[in-house]
Amino acid sequence: MIYLILAILLGILAGTITGLIPGIHINLIAIILLGFSASLLNLTSPLTIVIFITAMAITHTFVDYIPSIFLGAPDEDSILSVLPGHQLLLKGQAYFAIIFTLYGSLTALLIILIFTPIFIYLLPIIYPYVTRIMWIILLLASIYLVASEAGFKKQDFSKKYKRKIWALIIFLLAGFLGIASLNLNIKEPLLPLLTGLFGASNLIFSIKQKTKIPKQRTIPIKKIRLNKKSLAKASFASIIASPFTAFLPGLGASQAALIGREVSDIKDKREFLFLLGAINTIVMGLSFIALYSIQKTRTGAAVAISKLIPELGLTELFYILGTIIISGILASFITIYLSKLTAKNIHKIKYSKLSIIILLILTIITIYFTGILGLLVFIISAFLGLTTIFLGIKRMHLMGALLIPTILFYLL
């Protein structure tokens, strides 16, 4: 038992570190852990390592909005937080943005518990049918997301039409980029691909803009509220959108958030940030449940767990659920503390210098894990990300880098 508690605490620490450092995704840490698994298994049991990975993964989903919002350096799951988060940052309200994502993540813990029996019972029944039409679901989701660029209202149609065309072009270019990257002989192609598209491009843009951050406000957390209607709306949206992403490959938290936003007609930044936080944590939590019920892995953390315990039983599942709840609650305190600390001090740091340092770290990590080919993917992905920023269209169209290869995989 003491080892399990230690595993949770170390997992929370690791998740805090990975959450705070942009470009370091838990998938990467999970892969590294698997690489050392033979040595680790001499020291401890597979369950202990699984608990560590679970705690790390859940904590990451709480903490990763801090660099996303304060530094504009998100990962693939927190990418959509950049725009509303950045807007609030420039108004001195970044702390508020983090707290709304935190509310979402905490609500997600309850949603995970509610969905667990549904997933265990229903998913094995519906999954074979869903896989047959998966490519259609992904294709429709892609069409909807591209078409939703600039909205569906008839005003300023010609301007919106132009933006939709660009959205389609970017989506397709990202798709070709994804196909090429996944076919290259790179060990972890998603690292340079997603870090370049979302992380590096944003950092380069921040450096170019010489963004200056104003002093940030912090107020007691009980004063940061969402009214009941907003809470219900955002929770409903996350319940509708996120379960599919827990087992459908190629569909990430970002796309789920956009689908949820359209379904619930979410326009308020606070509701959207809540939705993002909720979806990010739900997707991670339910990916472990999906591993148990249909033996399919959707996240890097779930892949790692499937290697350590190939036949996950109900006992292990209970341990995982318990870890999700405990680490989520502890992670929320850590998130509040760290975001307050960052909010009080970020205006003192020269933002562009910090962005340069982070960009250098990401580049070194990319070269170390993926070599020269990976670096090439990283650079080209960054330029495509920058193109999207300059075009002023939603960056989630860059998810074509994953969606198109996945659709083709199911089609061909």
């Binding site: 076919n183 033996q295 080209i380 330029f383």
Partner: protein, 114 residues
């Protein structure tokens, strides 16, 4: 020459870069290796093998298929997430990633060429 970061530059570099990567992904395809050369050092690396199918197991509950192939040097299991219409004695080329399952090496197929 200073690189001016604007839409034109980034779009041009992206287009050229993507074309270059597509070209490299075709020309730098993994080399064909003998099945006996597959070992733990190649774990998670992409590889290419050729062989004759001698056993096919389809798991209908999960749409999962395991195809066993052999060449003159050895045999290996190929895993597929979507069942195919392959048959015993067919000669196939498999491009995929070397994975480990319960201490056995197998190839998770990305592409099968008949």
């Amino acid at each position: 020459m200073k690189l001016k970061l604007n839409l034109k530059t980034t779009l041009s570099i992206s287009l050229i870069g993507i074309l270059l990567l597509l070209f490299l992904s075709e020309t730098l395809a993994p080399k064909l290796i003998n099945i006996e050369d597959i070992n733990n050092k190649l774990l998670n690396k992409k590889t290419k093998v050729q062989g004759q199918i001698f056993n096919i197991r389809t798991f209908e509950d999960s749409d999962f298929q395991i195809i066993s192939i052999k060449d003159s040097t050895g045999k290996i299991d190929i895993t597929l997430d979507n069942p195919t219409n392959l048959a015993n004695n067919q000669n196939i080329t498999v491009i995929g990633t070397i994975k480990e399952y319960k201490q056995y090496l197998q190839i998770q197929a990305d592409k099968i060429i008949i």
